[in-house]
Assembly symmetry: C2
Homo-oligomer: 321 residues x 2
């Protein structure tokens, strides 16, 4: 399993954390913190969802550790709280993963502002909403921040961190350090853009992939193969700039200075008027069959998460050489 503990004393940890709303993202946050040795209190408006999350946490801890003491230690770090107030008591960091609507977020952040510890950082897992809007008019706005993970965060480590208009720079710094401390890879956005970094880049790639299928240039499976047996093999280790940097002797600047005109010419040829119409959706449905290999969605997700976890272990080993 990837980084189970802080990798250096330069990355301190919060003494205690509250995880608010425990759906698929929230329950995964439980593991991020417990794996790093941080005590977590969990709370959800729906008590059966909270119980499910605790049970899920317990199962994944049991599946990961063969050592009974380590199991017990990690189990003991996570406790369900009977109320929001109880969850927030003593928490230096709060991670909220509730419904994705501005109204819902504003309601919960108003509650957090009332009940959280006076110095607590209040982070939202939102993937779309600007913290400026969520925290507008809330007294604790300087301590409110977006910390958007990839699903599920205990498997994929990147977290997009960005403050709103009133978020203090110290809160941004501290969030970055704490997330690094628990083994995530926080990246900083200097200001809000729709989709942040990850969903924008994903959308750019998806648009071209979808267009290639819609135009009948290649099949769904062949377009996917170009990523999983081509570009994705590098992108697992190097981003687009790092890849460019290995593709020219004088580095990324040299690469883009040389190939910039080719990119610009190709960019002009990429279509922007792509739409998900019924014919396209039907085609995707028809052609996706081979990739399921008779597995259920849960089995496919479990395979994906095992694969990513094994890749992260491989990357840790390769980083040593």
């Amino acid at each position: 399993m990837p980084p189970a503990s802080p990798d250096s004393p330069a990355h301190p940890l919060p003494a205690s954390v509250a995880v608010i709303a425990t759906g698929v993202i929230g329950r995964s946050w439980l593991r991020v913190f417990s794996r790093a040795g941080v005590p977590v209190r969990a709370w959800d408006t729906d008590s059966s969802r909270l119980a499910d999350a605790i049970a899920w946490h317990s199962r994944t801890v049991t599946a990961e550790h063969t050592d009974a003491d380590r199991r017990a230690a990690e189990h003991a770090l996570v406790t369900p709280a009977p109320s929001l107030e109880a969850a927030l008591e003593g928490a230096e960091y709060v991670q909220e993963s509730g419904p994705e609507s501005l109204e819902a977020k504003r309601a919960i952040f108003r509650s957090l502002a009332r009940h959280a510890e006076p110095e607590a950082i209040l982070a939202s897992s939102t993937s779309v909403i600007d913290m400026t809007d969520i925290a507008d008019g809330i007294a604790t706005a300087h301590r409110c921040i977006v910390a958007h993970p990839v699903n599920p965060p205990h498997v994929v480590p990147v977290v997009e961190v960005l403050g709103g208009r009133d978020t203090s720079p110290e809160v941004v710094e501290c969030t970055m350090r704490w997330l690094q401390g628990v083994g995530q890879v926080p990246v900083r956005l200097n200001y809000y853009v729709p989709g942040f970094l990850l969903n924008r880049m994903q959308a750019a790639l998806v648009r071209e992939a979808v267009d290639l299928v819609a135009r009948g240039v290649a099949s769904v499976d062949d377009v996917d193969a170009v990523i999983r047996d081509g570009l994705g093999l590098r992108w697992a280790f190097l981003g687009p700039f790092g890849t460019a940097d290995t593709n020219a002797d004088a580095g990324a600047r040299d690469y883009f200075a040389r190939y910039g005109p080719s990119y610009e010419s190709l960019w002009r040829d990429l279509r922007t008027n792509v739409r998900f119409d019924e014919a396209l959706l039907e085609r995707i449905e028809r052609e996706r069959e081979p990739m399921t290999r008779g597995r259920t969605p849960d089995e496919r997700r479990a395979w994906r998460d095992r694969a990513v976890t094994a890749l992260r272990t491989l990357k840790l080993e390769l980083a040593k050489h």
Copy 2:
């Protein structure tokens, strides 16, 4: 090391292959074929480049196999030819990796038409030129095809296969089978589009990555981290459709039907007027420094190729479960 031999008798191999032009791509093709047990004759207009390629092949074989017999066997499969005619003698498949200009490609394909075996498949590694243009007016046009690899093909397996106007369907089929036979992952384009599949999808992602840096939303390293510690961890195993398929219970169709409107709205926000101006190139140069970690370009490339090779081995293991 990834697939060294054909994975099933359904994928027969060419009896003998000619590799024409032995730069960085051509020399890597030598390894693709020799690793699969196929005899290769190599030729280049520049005899010192040919000698370098043979020496490089020898070094990589030696580095890979500890077993002396396997080394000797693979060494013995590759021979430099004294002339184009000698290289082509008996070759059922010809892989050409010469300069990327239509004029140069047409000249070499005219020579191939004259000297290759009457039934030989004549494949070009071109990443940009339409085979319709290369083979226009050439008598063997029905046997001419594009087989565009990723650099280097002995590390990254995907190969984009597409015929020109006059290429026969049997030649496309046979090229696909033979490339699968030697352990590559051929994908089929139904017709020519600039950049094929791979460079179009790469360009789409690069445009957004570059724009995010140019607009100051995030640093070069943070944009890269979103790929290498986020999206790229999945894309190493699943393409965009496969990823979508694991993100909704009813699969990719359901995912895109649900999130299509969000994608379309994000697509409208992606900028298309991105340019590599001097300020952007300087910024990339300044911010790329941390990613080099004091390594030379050759060291970084060698690390990248080792990492990709280890990932392919991991994928073979995961595919069993």
